[in-house]
């Protein structure tokens, strides 16, 4: 038998189903973990039942038969819970969580990098669920051998007769869906008499062969309520016409969800729609979707194009300023205004709430707490805080490492906590909030805190610091993020190999973010990830040193002041300036990058606010604001951490985007290691790639080396 041609969009709709199902699985996981905390919450039970039902029903519709069959018994179990015949237990929650893992595997089967489905695990899960929910194994086996309609528990109430009219959307078949499966599912609820209505099928010549013209009249005798019947259509409800009426008595209590008048109107509309124009239904009207699902790759292309536009607009502005033509200038300014608005909009499109990333850690905490035999509660705050899609995508691993580390090393066993007067149930708090152009994501635990003496001893043992080194608390905590650093007495499956924390710092810094740690012995530890709101385009401040241009992120800049020869003389060789009575250290970019050009008589200090405090960067001139499209410098410059990227200016030259935090950390680190000649002077010797810096950032350097890496 030859395989039928698969419609080109069937895979596309399977893909859409996968995306929908992934979201439902995440929600199910959260709901299950919440239910574990509040077993009497009937609303949660209903949510779980509906989620499982949707996955089962829509899975079958889109050809995921194995997934649908596997989900069926879970759904039945939660139906038993819903009807008060089965108690929620940790065993049921754990079994369902394990089942979700297998459903996820079935969902991804055949896609790249998918984890394989474990048939033995699936069988064991189903067997345990059936045993727990008292689902008769023999009945299951009998059902498999003879697909006669059975009656699940949902149909066990008083039998009522329902009249159902179902007209699928015209594209149902194109989705690869099969309405017969819906009818089969209805048969599971009770005695069904169904009649397919073919009167809307147009003439052979006129008909669209892939469109569904058939609609159904059905009579169903069932003990299941209206909601259970509606649930059968849950996945197609938005695109179909559906009326469910209690037969005989339109004012019967069973018709309460949809008032009889509504049902009549719906039925009438069905009839009118057909008689007016056979085959044309109300859903032929244009859709007014409130949201759209767009492939991420299209979004990335869009943002890339906006980035290119911003670059071209900068060039236009530059040319317009040279033309000195009022009309050209007006057009250029209008283009600039529109480009700025477009950039803002495109960046907003990429913003996503961090909720889904946070929620998935409920499962991690639940599983780890069980494995480590600790009582841990995860609390979440600020889940609606939005971040750039790219940032969110890369945040999962660092947060996972931090949580695992807290669970394993930070949080004490229940008896130790009790001995020290703490609640036996520990808390891990995940929070997100805006702070200027950054988002702060914090992982806080109420565990034992960091033993800074132990960290220090370990750092000396590993030769990271000298025994005499004077370090602040934050400098000591920073050592935790050094490669291979761990104070754990034993390596566990969870952590202790000193790998995770290094990865945390690397990943966060690759996002142009920073990690801050604070800890109170016996009280707990808080790790804050400071992340940029966006990764693609930032508002920058363009500064010049000699022929070179640099960009400082505008969000971190405070003000600009002059640095005169007299100021320098007053500081006795220290790189410090007094700003309104406050001593502010500064870094001379010319010295830091070993640029050979001559400094002007009056230089400018750009003051910036960082986690380390206020600092200044000395430049020759401040050129103004610019929209900065961030371009990667490529692998060759990956080790150059004081530069977070490059951008192309309006005149076609390249400007390096500086990372103020890293520049200052570099200088502070040199100072701590005694390499700094003066307060916050940059490296004693030429910094790595200093020549390339100068060349890359210079006017005459937008040549091969620059363009090759930008």
């Amino acid at each position: 038998m030859a395989q039928p041609r698969v419609p080109s969009n069937a895979e596309q709709f399977k893909h859409s189903f996968r995306e929908e199902a992934r979201e439902i699985l995440t929600e199910l996981e959260s709901a299950l973990l919440e239910l574990n905390e509040n077993p009497s919450d009937t609303e949660l039970v209903s949510r779980i039942f509906r989620g499982l039902h949707t996955i089962k029903g829509s899975g079958a519709m889109f050809g995921f038969e194995r997934l649908a069959a596997f989900t069926h018994d879970l759904e039945t179990a939660f139906d038993e819970v819903r009807n008060g015949r089965l108690q929620i237990s940790s065993e049921l929650i754990d079994l369902t969580l394990s089942a979700l893992d297998q459903i996820r595997a079935m969902l991804e089967e055949g896609t790249d990098g998918a984890a394989p489905v474990d048939p033995a695990a699936c069988a064991a899960i189903l067997s345990s669920v059936r045993k727990l929910a008292a689902i008769d194994e023999r009945a299951v086996a009998a059902k498999k051998s003879a697909p006669a309609p059975d009656r699940p528990a949902a149909a066990a109430g008083a039998i009522e007769n329902w009249h159902i009219r179902f007209a699928p959307g015209p594209d149902l078949m194109r989705y690869g869906a099969n309405p017969s499966l819906l009818l089969r599912e209805l048969r599971q609820l009770g005695e069904l008499s169904a009649r397919a209505m073919l009167d809307s099928v147009p003439s052979l010549g006129e008909m669209d062969p892939e469109r569904c013209y058939v609609w159904w009249e059905m009579d169903l005798a069932t003990g299941a309520g209206r909601e259970a019947i509606r649930d059968v259509f849950i996945f197609v409800e938005d695109t179909c016409e559906l009326s469910i009426e209690a037969a005989g008595d339109p004012a019967s209590p069973a018709a309460e969800t949809v008032p009889p008048s509504d049902a009549e109107r719906t039925a009438r509309a069905l009839e009118e729609g057909r008689s007016a124009s056979p085959g044309r239904r109300s859903y032929d009207k244009p859709d007014h979707a409130s949201s759209l699902r767009v492939p991420a790759v299209k979004l990335d292309q869009f943002v890339d194009l906006v980035g290119e536009l911003v670059t071209v607009q900068a060039r236009l502005s530059e040319l317009a300023s040279l033309q000195n033509d009022a009309e050209v200038t007006a057009v250029s300014e209008e283009v600039e205004r529109l480009t700025s608005a477009l950039r803002e909009s495109s960046m907003n499109i990429r913003m996503m709430p961090i909720r889904s990333t946070f929620e998935k850690f409920r499962r991690l905490v639940h599983d780890l707490a069980r494995d480590l035999e600790k009582n841990v509660e995860l609390t979440i705050e600020g889940a609606d805080t939005e971040l750039d899609k790219t940032v969110i995508e890369q945040l999962g691993d660092p947060l996972m490492h931090l949580i695992r580390n807290s669970m394993d090393h930070g949080i004490e066993p229940a008896e130790v906590r009790a001995d020290s007067g703490k609640s036996p149930t520990a808390t891990i708090h995940l929070a997100a909030r805006h702070s200027g152009a950054s988002v702060l994501v914090t992982v806080t635990d109420d565990g034992r805190g960091i033993d800074s003496d132990a960290v220090r001893r370990r750092a000396v043992e590993r030769g990271l610091i000298s025994t005499e080194a004077q370090l602040t608390e934050s400098q000591i905590y920073a050592l935790l993020f050094e490669p291979g650093f761990s104070t754990a007495k034993q390596v566990t499956d969870v952590s202790g190999r000193g790998v995770g924390m290094d990865v945390v710092r690397q990943r966060v810094e690759s996002l142009r973010g920073a990690v801050e740690v604070s800890s109170q012995p016996g009280q707990g530890t808080s790790v804050t990830l400071r992340l940029p709101l966006t990764m693609a385009i930032i508002d920058g401040l363009l500064v010049g040193v000699g022929d070179a241009c640099f960009v400082l992120p505008l969000a971190s800049t405070l003000e600009c002041i002059e640095l005169t020869r007299e100021d320098i003389a007053r500081a006795n060789g220290k790189h410090i300036v007094i700003v309104r009575g406050e001593l502010v250290p500064y870094i001379r970019l010319r010295e830091h990058f070993h640029m050979r050009s001559r400094a002007p008589r009056i230089e400018q200090i750009m003051l910036v606010e960082t986690a380390e405090g206020r600092f200044g960067f000395v430049v020759d001139r401040v050129l103004g604001n610019c929209q900065t499209v961030i371009k990667s410098l490529g692998r060759f410059y990956r080790q150059v951490q004081v530069v977070s990227g490059a951008t192309i200016l309006g005149n076609g030259t390249v400007a390096l985007i500086l990372d103020p935090e890293r520049l200052i950390q570099d200088a502070v680190r040199d100072e701590a290691h005694g390499r700094g000649g003066r307060t916050l002077t940059a490296h004693g010797g030429p910094p790595e790639n200093s020549v390339e810096f100068t060349a890359l950032a210079g006017r005459g350097s937008a040549g091969p080396s620059a363009s090759a890496h930008v």
Binding site: S180, L198, E210, C212, W216
Partner: protein
């Protein structure tokens, strides 16, 4: 959707094999339109079919009506396999196809 056409004078027998569904719907429509134009009698054999979805049912239904309209003999040959019959019953179509009207 493998199809075998058997032609004898003005009689055409269309043998459909495997699953007849939306994937081959456009092809089936084209075939039915052509044969109804060029034959005096068209018969469809579902002997080797393993499944039939709603789009196939619609097409065969519309073809039967079209045949009546243009005066071409149209019908089914052979036995409908059990799998096809039960799929039709599942879909609430029952005995198939018996056009209710000639359109």
């Amino acid at each position: 959707m493998p199809v075998t056409l058997e032609k004898k004078d003005a009689l055409t027998i269309i043998q459909l094999e495997g699953t007849i569904d939306v994937g081959g719907a456009a092809e089936l429509k084209e075939l039915l339109v052509q044969q109804l134009k060029s034959s005096a009698a068209v018969y469809v054999s579902l002997d080797a079919a393993t499944g039939l979805d709603v789009t196939a049912v619609q097409l065969l239904w519309a073809a039967a009506r079209e045949a009546q309209r243009v005066g071409v003999e149209f019908g089914f040959k052979g036995q409908t396999p059990e799998a096809v019959r039960s799929a039709l019953v599942d879909a609430g179509i029952g005995e198939f196809p018996v056009p209710a009207s000639t359109g």
